[in-house]
């Protein structure tokens, strides 16, 4: 049974459909990457899965259980985590407090969980008492991912985790994503840096105009000359 299975999902904002039947499926322990041109509905699909947007048709299942249009806080309890692209931290709270808020629904103490996050993102240790809003872009992204991981989710959704980061931080974040995945967390992310993302992807979904254009393994999509020409810049 797939970890996440979305079938013919339609949806959008205020009656305007952005998604016109997206199919998407990843197994436990897999990395799925959604790529595609601007306006293809990549982020919209992620929001639709996480209950932040009304799905008008189609079905989304988590481990076979129907989660279509379920409220986000319910999904967190079912083992999903979400890292939005923007506004993904609490800027005036310290790094440690950001992580504590991630585990709000978990019984305390959170020390073990917090230590796990610091192990994964060592640069955060010395910043733990600093307001998260004062950190660099890459470190903020670490806080954002750390917050979502505090509930020990089985599926982590990430909206453009490397947007606006320098190449050095970008590689760092990709390396961490692989590490998180290796620890048993299924990952579904939207990425602009398509080539690098597809290289670590088990499954790749190329969306255009709210529909699947290509669906294959990350490797095969990278090797497909048509995908390369139309979506990966030659």
């Amino acid at each position: 049974m797939p970890l996440l299975d979305a079938h013919a999902v339609h949806g959008g904002y205020g009656g305007m459909n952005i998604l016109n039947g997206v199919d998407l499926s990843i197994d436990a322990h897999e990395i799925g990457v959604i790529v595609g041109p601007n306006g293809a509905g990549k982020s919209t699909m992620l929001k639709a899965i996480f209950g932040l947007l009304q799905v008008s048709q189609g079905a989304i299942r988590l481990r076979g259980e129907d989660i279509t249009n379920t409220a986000p806080n319910k999904l967190v309890q079912l083992g999903m985590g979400f890292v939005p692209q923007e506004y993904n931290i609490f800027p005036s709270l310290t790094v440690q407090e950001n992580l504590e808020m991630g585990a709000y629904i978990k019984p305390r103490p959170h020390d073990r969980l917090i230590d796990q996050i610091f192990e994964l993102f060592p640069p955060l240790v010395e910043k733990r008492r600093q307001p998260a809003g004062e950190l660099s872009g890459g470190q903020r992204q670490m806080v954002a991912m750390g917050r979502a991981l505090m509930t020990e989710p089985s599926l982590l959704l990430m909206d453009e985790p490397t947007a606006g980061l320098s190449p050095m931080f970008m590689n760092e974040i990709f390396a961490r994503i692989k590490e998180i995945n290796a620890a048993g967390v299924g990952i579904l992310m939207v990425e602009q840096n398509a080539k690098q993302a597809l290289e670590i992807a088990d499954k790749g979904f190329v969306l255009a105009a709210g529909q699947n254009r290509f669906t294959d393994t990350g490797r095969n999509l990278l090797d497909d000359p048509e995908v390369a020409r139309s979506f990966l810049g030659g």
């Binding site: 967190v76 309890q77 609490f90 005036s92 709000y104 305390r108």
Partner: protein
Amino acid sequence: MNELVFFINNVVVSGIVSSSIYAMGAIGVTLVFSIMRFAHFAHADMMTLGAFFVLGLTMLFPEIGNAIGLPSALILMPIAMVMTALTAVGIDRTFYKPLRDNNVKPIVLVIGSLGVTLMLQGLIRLVAGTGSRSMYIAERKDIFRLELPGELATRPIVITEPQIILFVFAVGAVVALHWFLTRSRLGKAMRAMSDNPDLARVSGINTNTVIAVTWMIAGALATAAGTLLSLDVTLKPDLSFFLLLPIFAAAIVGGVGHPYGAIAGGFVVGFAETLAVFNWAVLLRPFQDMLPAGWELPTYLAFVGTEYKITVPFFILVAILVWRPTGLFKGKVL
């Protein structure tokens, strides 16, 4: 020296008194704004309502404070704080929550709170009448006169018991609030919701609980501020009229959404008011002898007359909105 004593009595003491009251009111305004994103105009009436709850309780048990030597009203204040906290939650559930659930614009909530203001004012007058009341029913106010050593000062520094209690209470409340916001799980959730409500919801924070706690803190602090002010002067149904502008000015001066800014703003507004109405001619009097013959110092030299005190926070408000709309502590723009 007597001039200095006059300055202490009229500026230092009364400045601290009004500053503490404004600070406690402004904390409530700023907390409500940071959690629910609207300016709660009925806040000053919550202060009045809380003080009237205390008055009602004091009329029921006028002698209760005699045993320990504190004003009865003060002993009964915690009960009234709980009553007002629950009333605030009730008002929210009845009037503001339905609006929030319909995703209205903040201005609709502001207008709604204006309606609550009028309703509370009407209810208070309906039950308690329109006259001034003393919070001391079976007791007298203790007044302390501190004689200064030396021969130069013949007048004492005058401090009343409620003034001391007010200051001690305000300091205690601020320390407790600081502890709550930085150490407790719920306090941190409050700050998180103020920072980023969507992310707070996604993290599984129960936003309804946070909202209820915000109203409880705001209601309890409003009651304390209203009661201690009424103990110091008298309790009138139109108390809120003289409090609304200063507490909003204090919240905005401090930077809306910043509890510590609200405290600083309370002190800025409180002292600006007392310094503006202070008769500076008194401090110049000792220099009269140095002036050439025929030169008279004015006997009255204040920035504004006492009856125009309420204009001072208004000017501060305008100035801060023009020159630094985010306030001293970089808050949100209203």
